[in-house]
Amino acid sequence: MLQAYWYITKMKLLTNLTYRFEVFTSVATNLILTLASVFLWQTAYKGGSGTVESLSLQDITTYTILSITISTIFVCDVQNTIYYKIREGQIVTDFYRPIPLLACYLAEDIGEMFSSLLNRALPLIVFASIFFGIPWPASIQGFLLFLPSCLLSYAILWLLSALVGLIAFWVMELGNMGNVKDSIVRVLSGSIVPLWFFPDTVQTISKFLPFQYTYQTPLGIYIGNTSISDGFTAMAVQAVWVGLLFLVLAAGWSRTKKKTLIQGG
């Protein structure tokens, strides 16, 4: 059973590794983004007192570099895959497969994640380290906690993406709803500016939303702004969100499957 998923993952990994030029420009784009963001922070910190909200420039530099790096690894193509397959009517052949549809798409995304790790994240970290020094974690424990926290983050992001994908079954033409969700996530997850800098009311509201647990939680643990014990609490909240979103997705999926309409083909 697992072999089937591993095969899908492997094929996606191999396909992605063949596109070289796209990878080159993608690394360059992310590098520009990293440089520009770090320069922005350097300007903001210039002549100031050194730490703001107990974050130093070094902390925020590490935060920014890692935030952009993990965003290249967190591949959630499921929303676009569903949208595209429904538009083209190809979803029917995927339903023929003897394994669950969504699990297939997850396997594909994981394959892409592996290839991104190799050809997007790694070069970005190397170049960023050349410019700004290696972004070390605050402590070994922090680093060890960062990894499982990232996995939970990815689970939240993927489930959100799959939920948006489900909408495509109902409306046929989803348009850019996936990107709408992505832009909201980008801001409220603290991936650009950490939520610690936001006004207090926004911070309070955000505690009850899943978004800040996708980027800010693992990154906060990594740079040591979230203590180890707080880190465990935050990871428990992450796990609760994963469970909750999984239940919603499962309920939505069983209802949606009956709605499937095959276009063309």
């Binding site: 903001a44 002549g47 409306v171 033409e173 348009g175 500016v193």
Partner: protein, 272 residues
């Protein structure tokens, strides 16, 4: 001359009608853009506000001035994507043979390339652009005199020409290589960071690069600094930037059209 001009106008307006009808075909598609673009840009300026509130003015640019700059950069981006978006997809046209079709028609090729798709959706980029810009004018105390309005129009035209020249040159690469990868995404990120945020944040090397080699600093940064009387951190020119921007724009555009024509000589069809 007059009749050929009339001919071009009638072709362009016919294409524009078709393009707009095509884009209105999927209302939800339009709606999703209507949600996404404002969210993206309003959150961008909100991030700047949070940073300035928690820290300090960015190299002497306080929030009203940043808003003015951000809005000016965004408006010129918005107008650009309405009229020139086809320069983004030149590599696709080369690969799928769409470019051959343009060569067969008895009209200017660049005109056809640009006019065949008026990106009606691009107007959505102008909505947050205009709102942010007007708000910026209000809080930064921009004086709406006739001279300033005239300067503003000249700056916008110049900025759009600089953008068009940049993307045309990038698209021309596809004549040789058949593809230019995701150069467009790269250029867009670069443009956003150099035209909507103060250029003086960056190291001297980058400032020089964006002033003399790829002159995108002229799109909004230098004009905004002049309009608001902010210290732009270096470059002093004898004449007003309102004149420099259109001049630089025209020069860039002429160079780009030269590159385009040179590239076309080397163009080989990729087959059907």
């Amino acid at each position: 001359m007059v009749s050929s001009f009339k001919h071009y106008v009638s072709v362009a307006s016919c294409w524009a009608r078709l393009a707009i009808q095509r884009q209105l075909e999927y209302p939800l598609f339009l709606f999703s853009w209507l949600l996404m673009i404002p969210i993206q840009y309003f959150s961008g300026i909100w991030m700047l506000k949070i940073i300035v509130d928690r820290f300090q003015a960015l190299n002497g640019w306080d929030f009203p001035q940043l808003t003015f700059l951000y809005g000016l950069g965004l408006i010129s981006h918005g107008i650009f994507v309405v009229f020139f978006i086809n320069t983004w997809s030149m590599d696709h046209m080369v690969i799928n043979g769409g470019f051959d079709r343009l060569l067969l028609r008895p009209m200017n090729v660049f005109f056809q390339l640009v006019a065949s798709y008026v990106n009606f959706i691009g107007l959505i980029d102008c909505i947050p652009g205009v709102i942010i810009f007007l708000y910026g004018c209000e809080i930064a105390g921009f004086e709406w005199s006739l001279v300033n309005i005239g300067k503003l129009i000249l700056v916008l035209i110049g900025g759009i020409l600089i953008r068009a020249a940049l993307f045309t040159s990038l698209g021309t690469i596809a004549f040789w290589t058949k593809r230019n990868g995701s150069m467009v995404g790269f250029a867009l990120t670069m443009l956003e960071r150099a035209t909507m945020y103060p250029l003086s944040m960056y190291p001297f090397f980058l400032q020089a690069l964006f002033t003399f080699i790829i002159p995108i600093g002229f799109i909004s940064f230098y004009p905004a600094a002049e309009f608001l009387g902010t210290d732009n951190g270096g470059l002093e020119l004898p004449l007003s930037f309102a004149l420099w921007t259109p001049l630089v724009g025209i020069i860039c555009f002429l160079i780009a059209s030269g590159i385009f024509r040179f590239g076309m000589k080397n163009y080989e069809s990729a087959g059907s």
